[in-house]
Symmetry: C2
Subunit: 157 residues, 2 copies
């Protein structure tokens, strides 16, 4: 019976896959968040990640940013070029190792971060609005555990 819908014969539905649901969810949440920094502040996703990492870490090398935000060095390099052109970030030589470029947010960069964060937090608050405190804690815990596990699995291949 070649015309019968395939799902009839097998119980497995795509939507029950954890990876699939996570992918859709992450796409969606990422789009929801990026509406803020992309549409309203003209930053790429990568630029935003660098700003956020730099704000948290303070002045560090491009490589460290890459590790912190799981982006490869070329991606970081391009985003940094963009941020420098926008005056949000400064890059200067490391006297201790002249291969390094130390990255540092400018005043404008820090100000922009402070402007964007509350907007993203408001979205997050909306997403979680209907969740009880227990549910929020449980979500945070489960995601953390999944992350650790995925990290492990990825490294083996």
């Amino acid at each position: 019976m070649p015309q019968a819908p395939d799902h009839a014969s097998e119980a497995l539905s795509l939507n029950s896959f954890l990876p699939y649901r996570l992918m859709i969810l992450a796409d969606m949440v990422s789009r929801v968040a990026s509406q803020i920094y992309v549409d309203r502040f003209d930053l790429t996703r990568q630029e935003w990640r660098i700003i956020a990492s730099l704000f948290e870490l303070g002045p560090v090398s491009a490589t460290e940013i890459g590790e912190h935000s799981t982006m490869d060095k070329m991606t970081v390099s391009r985003a940094v070029t963009g941020l420098e052109a926008k005056g949000l970030l400064r890059r200067h030589d490391d006297p201790a190792d002249r291969r390094n470029k130390i990255l540092e947010l400018t005043q404008a960069g820090r100000a922009l971060y402070r402007k964007i964060v509350p907007l993203i937090l408001a979205r997050e608050a909306y997403l979680l609005e209907n969740f009880s405190p227990e549910e929020r804690a449980s979500l945070a815990h489960l995601l953390e555990a999944l992350l650790a596990r995925a990290r492990e699995l990825e490294q083996r291949g």
Copy 2:
């Protein structure tokens, strides 16, 4: 004090953002899953999503696939071209509406799906290995709720 690390003065850490954690997690889980169908079966992520959607839905139009998998129609069009070239999918005219192309997995397409699914499920099982049944249920429920909420938020802009 311009040199002091910025995070010292503000409590907010990037890693505590739900969207950020979700993004990292989704990237990771997606990479873990894609190691299977990309590296071992030479499918793009989009091609795999279409195969999975088609298997679940049976023969439908490209537009329906797009809605089901949240991909835009150009993305679907390109991936379908690739799948057809690989002989995994057939495309024929809809007699009821000749603008439509009805998409349908070939025998080879269905066979490939059946080969890949257990491998992905094995990875999922590994990811969830340390979770109790309650935790799994709770995770499924929380993700579902988040998805619904994100969908809402996205539509408003």
